[in-house]
Every structure is written in structure tokens, then in C-alpha cells.
Amino acid sequence: MASEIQVIIDIILAASPAFATYYLAALGHGIFEKSGVLNLAIDGVFTLGVAIAFAVTAVSGNPNLGLIAAIASASAFGLLIAYLTIKLPISHGAIGLSIMFVGYGLASLVGVPVRRVNPSANWYPMDDLFWLSLIVGSIAIGILIHYMLSRTKLGAAIRATGENPHAASSLGISVMKIRLISGMLGYALIGAGSALFVLAYTQSWTEGTGMGHGWIAFAVSLSAGRDPIVTMLASTVFAALLKYQYNIQAALKISPHITNMIPFVAALAAMVIFMVTPLHRKLAPPKSLGKRYFKEERTV
């Protein structure tokens, strides 16, 4: 009996890097979108965060520096997106996609030269204590964010900005400030998720590592209605799918060449499930998500 419990605990712990990656990234994405900014840059910045975390860790020898560098650079992008979409009447989708491509390009430019000299880096340890701290840490962050969004003035302001920025503004909320804060905070979490993806999950980097997983985080957040607690459940499912895709493939006796597809098919399925069930009414997206907030005249 005791050994069975041990096995289950091991299974859960080993999936913690994948869980922390998806949960933190989806959480961050959710905060930013709660404030009304359609976030299509996520995959590019995620891929760039992965490359920066790898490069800084490989050069400095310290994974914590890699994590910090990824968080810092990702939050800079969050600030940039929030600033541009507020100051100019530009399409959220267009700026997001453009930044996605820049992210892909910069990721290769940052990672490839470093990898040539240092093919490996000092990754995070693969031990139970670190894994446990990842789970506890990300759940704690999730609960904090949940509290912040639902119980604090800042959270109310973020939600109000997402629902109706004009009304929020007339109540004295600075839409600019709120979106800058949620952009920075949201992207800091996306950056943290991306860093953990390479430093704790894949523990190797080649050109293209991380690509597509930003979109999975996007789908996780969408299918959980951007709610921090529901996102936790959705992330658990996706972490299990990612970590144990080869076991699933072996159990279902499907081709190993199909294995990589599993998280992506699940991402699509999760969005469909969310939309066909009453979930999407209970956890409806912010009403002004992706709408331009512009009052005809604006000081740059």
C-alpha cells in the first residue's frame, strides 16, 4: 500500500515542471486578457523566454539568473503591448501576431550562438524537493492571483477595465495604468512558465524549443475561462498529457509518431468542450476583450 502511494506521489511530482509551465503561463495570459487586451503574442514571447532562460543559464551557470532574465524580458514585452494598444488605435491581434514573429526570430538569434559554445546548462535539479516546491509555489501564486482578482481594488479595476474601459475610466480608474500592470504581471508569469519549461522540463534546447507550447497555455487559459482556480485544473490535465504522452501512446497502442500531437489535439478539444458546455456562460470572456480603447485624441 505504502509503495503504491509512493508511486502515485512520484507520478504527480514528476509532472510538476510541466504543470508549473502551463499553469504560470496560462495564469499570466488570463490576467492580461482579463484587463481586455487580446493576447496573441504569447507563443512568440514564450519561445523567446525559453531561449533567454537557456542562454543566460548556459552562460552564467545559474538557473535562477535564467529564470529572472526570462521574467524580465517577458514583462518588458507585456508593457510594450499594453502601452501600444492603449496609446494608439491599433489592432490587438495585429500587434500580437507581429510580436509573435519577432519572438520566434529573436529566440533563434539568442539561443543558437550560445548553444554552439555551451550545448548544455546547469538545469534545475530533478529531485522531489524541487518538484514539490514547484507545485506548492505555483499553486500559492495562483491562489494569490485569485485573491487579487476577486477581492482587491486592483483586481476589481482589472476586471472593470476588461469589461468596459470607458466606464472604468469615468470612475477614475486609469486604464493605461491598469493594463500596464496586468501586462507586466501577466507576462512576468508567462516568462516564468517559459523558463521552467526549458530549465526544469525539457532540460535541453535546440532551435524551436517551446514553439507551440505558448498556444497550449493560451488554450488552457481559454478553456478555463481565465479563472485562476479552474486554470489550475486545466493545467493539471495538460501537464499530465505532456509529461506522460509516451505512456499514453504506449497504453493506447498508437503510433509513436502521433504522440507529439496529443497536447495540441487536447488543446483544441479543451476549447471546444469549454464552448459547447455551459462553462462558457459562467466564465464568459471580458466584454471588451480585443476591442480598441481609443478616445479620438490621445497624448502620446
Partner: protein
């Protein structure tokens, strides 16, 4: 003194030309700066870009990007963002590949002693002359029919793949950017599965690498005999055909008009009793059909076989599904400008791979990959364009006085 953004009384004169041009120039400069940071000398970068505008090698990507750009304009006109041309092209490749290698012709093992007989036989191609297990490809139908079938099935599969995202958007309101992108990854992995197992070839090479057998000579698209280029008659015909069809659709048909209204004012469409769902599906499917046909070109005019994608950064589509977004945006969704922006983007793409080759001999090899340059360049031009496009309708004004809030 402060700077404000206000709406113009009249749109910026020649904004449709000036803004894309300035964006390209600024985008090139910004990417040069970034590339300089990783050790690419700007003089080499600029000279590579300059020479690639005159290189005959860009003809092929120019032709394919014109078709893809037109395809995306169809969907973008309806404000339906088809970012999934990559996946649709991949399915086009699969469709054309299946027909080309398994239906219009197919491969057989023969005994080594029969090899000389088959070598002399018309319509038979020796795929693998190995002394133990030779493989031949036998033609089953007239080549023009086979080629037509290849393209037809490619079109169909590309359209069906886009139809998935179209239905998700129309019936479930799932953002098409996310779904088409996720579908791209699913398409890449499906492609890898298909070429590794069900469609894997018989020849030694196919056994060694995960790939299909090669396409029969007679089914390969014929190249135009211009030195320095690899473009085929079929690709040129496709691009011209697609261009005329899309131009006609958007300019002269109800369908085109309704697509444009879907993009500018979907509520007007609803008020007129027209189903917006239907037009969302049409917009995505039509552009998927065209992307599928481009997939057939990639297979039948260039690769002649399907091979496992080792790294999703470098798919056989050369990321043209993404570069085509740049083509259609730079043309300001005006179909007449598509060939011009396709030409510019084709030259920039060529510069990316040319630069990689040049740096290889210059001692900094391995520092930059072709796709890194392409992505960086596309990204910076797009960001600049997205920001500058605002100024076709808005302008900056310097006014006196205090800041009056937001």
C-alpha cells in the same frame, strides 16, 4: 507642449504606398541592428538584400507568395484571420503526395534479374536500383490526368483543414488565430506520422529516412527553362489563375462584397438577414483551398516526395504560410498590390537564406539560421507596419497646454 494622436480629416494621401514602403525600410533597419548585435555585419546584410531583389531565384517564391497572399486577402477581407495556411499547405502536400506516389503511379519491388527489362520499359521509373531489392515506380494514368488529380485532392484537403477552424469560429466562436495555429502543429505532426508509417516508401532511402518514395518523372511539374530559377509552368498558371479569381470575386461578386462587409461591419450583414457564420466559413475555406493547391506545388514542383519534418522551425513549406501574412498586410488588403508586396517579400526571404549561405563561408556559420532571419525580418516589418498604419487615418499633432488626462 504635448503630442496628440487625432483622426485625420482626409486619409493620408498615397498612404497605401508610403506606409508599407516606410515599414519595410524601418523593418530592415531594425532587423539589421538586431542581427548586428549577434555578429552579422550590416554591410553584408544590406548588400545581400539589395542583390536578392535582382536574383532570378526569387521568381518561384514570388509566384507562390502571390497565390498565398491572394488566398489570405480573401479571408482577411472578412476580418477572419487565417494564420493556418501552413497547415493547409501541409495537407495539400499530403494530398498531392498520396495521389502522386500511390494512385497516379505506385512503387513495386521487383527481382534483381528483372531490372534490365524494366529499365527499357516506357512509363517505368527505377526508384532504387539496389542489387538485392530493386524498386520501380509504374505510371497508372496519363500524366496530365495524374497531375490534375494531385492538385484537386490537395485543394480539397487544404479546404477541409481550413473548414475545421472555420466551423469552430462560426459555431463556437473559438478564436481562429489560436485554432489555425494549433491546427498547423497538428498538421505537421500528422504529416510526420503519415510519411513515417502509412505512406512510407519501399526504396532503401525511404527505409533509411522517414519518407515516401519519389514522384514518377512523368508526374513532376515541368520547369520553365529560364536559367537560375526553378519555377514551373504549373506554378505560374496557378498564381495567375488564383490572382484573377480572387480579384474577380472581391470586385465583382456578391460573395466578395459580403466578405468585405463581414470585415468592416458584420452587424450590417446580420441586419440584412445574411448569415455571418456562412461567410466566416466561406472565407476560411476558400483561402484554405488555395493554400492546399500551393501545397501541391511544393510537392510536385520541388520536393517530389514527402519527408519527415525534423524541426518544426524548418518545415518544407519554408514558413510561407506565415510570410504570406506579411504579403497581404503590406498590400493593405488590396489584391492589385499583392504581386508587388509578394515580390518584395520574396526578395527578403531569399536574402535570409542567401545570408545564411554567405555567412557560412565568412566564418560566423552557425550563428544565424535562415528561419531566424526570416522571422526577425517579418516580425519587425509587421510591427512597424501595424504601428504606422494608424497614421493613414490618424495624425500626430503638437499642441500647447497641459496634459488633459488620458
Amino acid at each position: 507642449m504635448r503630442v496628440v494622436v487625432i483622426r485625420r480629416v482626409k486619409p493620408l494621401p498615397f498612404g497605401g504606398i508610403i506606409i508599407p514602403l516606410i515599414s519595410i525600410i524601418i523593418g530592415i533597419l531594425l532587423s539589421a541592428l538586431v542581427l548586428y548585435g549577434v555578429g552579422v555585419p550590416p554591410d553584408i546584410y544590406f548588400s545581400t538584400i539589395a542583390t536578392s531583389f535582382l536574383s532570378p531565384q526569387i521568381l518561384r517564391s514570388f509566384v507562390l507568395l502571390t497565390a498565398l497572399g491572394a488566398a489570405l486577402i480573401l479571408s482577411f477581407s472578412g476580418a477572419v484571420w487565417n494564420i493556418g495556411a501552413e497547415g493547409q499547405m501541409i495537407w495539400g502536400m499530403i494530398g498531392a503526395g498520396y495521389i502522386g506516389v500511390f494512385v497516379a503511379a505506385s512503387s513495386y519491388y521487383i527481382s534483381p534479374s528483372e531490372l534490365p527489362i524494366y529499365q527499357a520499359m516506357p512509363g517505368v521509373m527505377i526508384l532504387d536500383a539496389s542489387p538485392t531489392k530493386p524498386v520501380i515506380s509504374v505510371l497508372h494514368m496519363a500524366p496530365p490526368l495524374g497531375q490534375a488529380l494531385m492538385i484537386l485532392v490537395a485543394i480539397l484537403l487544404g479546404g477541409l483543414w481550413a473548414l475545421i477552424a472555420g466551423s469552430l469560429k462560426a459555431f463556437l466562436e473559438i478564436d481562429e488565430v489560436a485554432s489555425t495555429l494549433i491546427l498547423n502543429y497538428i498538421a505537421y505532426f500528422s504529416f510526420n506520422y503519415l510519411v513515417s508509417e502509412p505512406l512510407r516508401g519501399l526504396s532503401v532511402q525511404a527505409k533509411q529516412f522517414l519518407r515516401t518514395d519519389a514522384l514518377h518523372y512523368a508526374l513532376r511539374f515541368v520547369r520553365i527553362p529560364v536559367p537560375g530559377t526553378t519555377v514551373t509552368y504549373m506554378e505560374v498558371a496557378l498564381a495567375v489563375g488564383v490572382f484573377i479569381i480572387v480579384w474577380f470575386l472581391l470586385k465583382y461578386t456578391t460573395l466578395g462584397l459580403r466578405l468585405k462587409i463581414l470585415g468592416s461591419n458584420p452587424n450590417a450583414l446580420k441586419a440584412a438577414g445574411v448569415s455571418t457564420r456562412k461567410y466566416i466559413i466561406i472565407a476560411l475555406t476558400l483561402s484554405g483551398l488555395i493554400a492546399g493547391s500551393v501545397g501541391a506545388m511544393i510537392f510536385g514542383a520541388n520536393f517530389y516526395r514527402l519527408e519527415k519534418i525534423d524541426n518544426i522551425v524548418t518545415p518544407p513549406t519554408q514558413n510561407m504560410g506565415y510570410t504570406a501574412i506579411l504579403v497581404s498586410w503590406l498590400s493593405m488588403l488590396d489584391i492589385r498590390a499583392v504581386p508587388v508586396s509578394a515580390y518584395i517579400v520574396a526578395a527578403l526571404m531569399q536574402a535570409g537564406s542567401e545570408l545564411q549561405a554567405r555567412l557560412g563561408t565568412g566564418g560566423v556559420s552557425g550563428i544565424v539560421s535562415g528561419s531566424a532571419i526570416t522571422y526577425t525580418l517579418i516580425g519587425f516589418v509587421l510591427i512597424t507596419f501595424t504601428i504606422l498604419r494608424v497614421f493613414t487615418e490618424y495624425e500626430l499633432k503638437f499642441v500647447r497646454g497641459e496634459k488633459s488626462g488620458e
